[in-house]
């Protein structure tokens, strides 16, 4: 997969020299690493990683500046780190966006009953920390007759849903076309890919959380500690800009399940939804279901007045 990557940024020229320099450093590090593992202390000393992998992680370049070989090394490192941490063999690939595709999502709030199956489907699919309770989707229980988010109930736990007089509004990353989080990031660790998905290079994020302050949809979440996932629950099919295991101190968010959707599958939340409230598809395909909804239903988007141009629409049957 990694040889299909062609979206470098404009800093390739400099990048060449930088790479040479870092390669030199890495080789020095490799020699040191061999010495360290010979003395048998490498594992404990480097935070569950070997010295050379810790060094490789440290000097890893920005996603958009990595050569295919560097990406291959990075993916192999991710797999080795997961093996060490969880004792599980995962596969991590770098799936590029599909040309001619821009993803959009539409959600029928008349059909949503507030079951939160999407929330838990997402957690399992995307390897979110179980203890830390990172959830990409938050379902708001709203009073009928009002769209005031400030009167929404986040932690509703009635005997059964739906509660009479309430409706449910699931909120997740809107994959804005004009994303304020991307503007905010001081190191360009998050950006909008050509298929419209706002992605994060977890290895480049410095954890300043400026993007979290900038997001009007509270879509971004921080790993306040090392995410804990039971090994047997780990989703082993992972993607670099998607659901691969994250480390502490970095920001993550919904990425429309890049590991699935860039291979033509549905996102996990759509698959998990028992009511069929969710419609996902290619906005550039005039025959897609999502285009039908945008053209035939009365739709709305959250906080449109902020100019973020979300690619996530809500609609009703009425």
């Amino acid at each position: 997969m990694s040889d299909e990557r062609d979206h470098y940024d404009g800093q390739v020229n400099f990048s060449h020299y930088r790479r040479k320099f870092l390669k030199g450093l890495a080789q020095v590090g490799l020699a040191g690493g061999v010495a360290a593992s010979a003395s048998g202390v490498a594992r404990a000393a480097w935070g569950g990683s070997t010295f050379q992998d810790a060094l490789g992680d440290f000097f890893q370049n920005h996603y958009q500046r990595m050569t295919p070989e560097e990406m291959k090394d990075a993916l192999a490192r991710i797999e080795r780190n997961a093996k060490r941490k969880f004792g599980v063999d995962i596969t991590c690939v770098d799936t590029p966006p599909i040309p001619g595709v821009v993803f959009g999502y539409a959600l029928n709030i008349s059909k949503c009953k507030g079951y939160r199956d999407c929330v838990y489907g997402c957690i399992r699919e995307n390897n979110q920390g179980r203890d830390s309770q990172v959830q990409y989707i938050r379902v708001l229980q709203m009073d009928k007759g009002s769209m005031n988010l400030e009167r929404s109930e986040h932690y509703y736990e009635p005997e059964s849903v739906p509660v009479p007089g309430k409706f449910y509004l699931p909120v997740q990353c809107m994959q804005c076309d004009n994303p304020p989080c991307v503007k905010a990031c001081p190191v360009g660790a998050t950006w909008k890919d050509p298929d419209g998905i706002v992605v994060i290079d977890y290895n480049w994020c410095i954890g300043c959380r400026f993007c979290m302050a900038a997001c009007p949809y509270w879509a971004r979440h921080f790993n306040w500690t090392d995410p804990q996932i039971p090994a047997e629950e780990l989703n082993r099919a992972t993607n670099y800009l998607g659901n691969r295991p994250r480390m502490k101190g970095v920001v993550e968010k919904c990425h429309f399940c890049t590991q699935r959707t860039r291979k033509g599958r549905q996102p996990a939340c759509m698959e998990a939804c028992p009511t069929g409230a969710r419609v996902f598809g290619n906005l550039l395909d005039p025959n897609s279901e999502i285009r039908y909804i945008l053209e035939h239903k009365t739709v709305f988007r959250l906080k449109e007045e902020l100019g973020t141009e979300p690619k996530f629409w809500y609609y009703t049957d009425a």
Binding site: H154, C205, R209
Partner: protein, 421 residues
Amino acid sequence: MTFFHFLRDGVREMLRGPRAYWIWLGVLAALFAFGALNYFGQLRDGLVVTGMSDQVSWGFYIANFAFLVGIAAAAVLLVIPAYIFYRKDVKAVVLLGEGMAVAAVIMAMLFVLVDIGRPDRAWHVIPFIGRFNFPSSLLAWDIVVLNGYLALNVFVPMYVHYCHYRGQEPKLKLYFPVVVVAMFWAISIHTVTAFLFSSNAARPFWNVALLGPRFIASAFASGPALIILTLQIIRKVTDYPVSQSVIDTLALIMTVAMQISLFFVGAELFTDFYSETNHATSMHYLFLGLDGFSGLRPWIWLSVALNLVAVTILSIHPLRRRMLTLNIACVCGFLGIWLDKGMGLVVPGFIPTPLGEIFEYAPTATELYIAIGIWAFGFLVFTLLAKASIAIELGKVRARPDVSRKPIVGAPSIPAVAHRD
């Protein structure tokens, strides 16, 4: 070679002093070490040891950062009278003010460093080697202006001290243009820091045009407060001449800044509370509480009370001129603005969240310990810089004539160079 001697003699002077000086340094170093120890715990376990959450994702660290950038910027209030209005009395202490700016910028940077989740990746912000999202990211702007300000406030005083060390007068032509740049730069650091918050349309509490002016006004009140207190201590513990006229000028500046600052706060309160739109909910939470949550209410009212005491004392001439009441005003104003700009500005921006959730924040002991460590480090930096500066300015530390390029007859007896033009 002379420059090397300059640095060597400067450091030697920093490490020379009476018993009380060493106890002071020891206490600061111990507090810093205590903070550092706690920071290692935070590095090991993650930021989960703080009171921050996905809901309130910035807290005590960023609050202190915002406040300290203001303190750093306030050094300009000595620079302008000293270099533009040729006030000799102010020029005598301007180097101390610049030392305070250095200490404040270093503290501000440390507060950002302890706040980020991956300090090991801090090199990612280095242009070209890392990937610097300039000019799009306001945080990138802040990195530029803070580093630039630090450099300006290190190099200008270093040049002036170096000249005095060699018994020469600094060349005005050489450093005056840099001083002019530094003046505008001082305003820029605090404006950019305000824009860091006000640029977020997602957070209506911060997303107001008045935030930048408010930051500058409150900085020009809290900064002089700290300088006035510090200058009195220096006057007491050293034989460095600090003219009362400097303190009077600073007190007057502080008075006006405090009045303007409170007027700005009033304007914001009116706009939010009269319209009662959803944009006012954070302000409502801060001052009155929301849905039974009112964690910040006591603090903001304490801040209001402190600021009112300060502005009242300052605005009544006889009270402002008496050192006791002036000092009360300085302590009140400093603490009041620290509460207001810190907890009162940063935290309520996150409450409620953009999805309307109310989740409160209070700093943990770890956060307080780390913050104490950083403040102690800042005091330590300032103490050392001031110690060397005062010795050089008093002519106690001088290049020996045989090593200086231009030997000066009777150099060691030159009295307080700082008083000369």
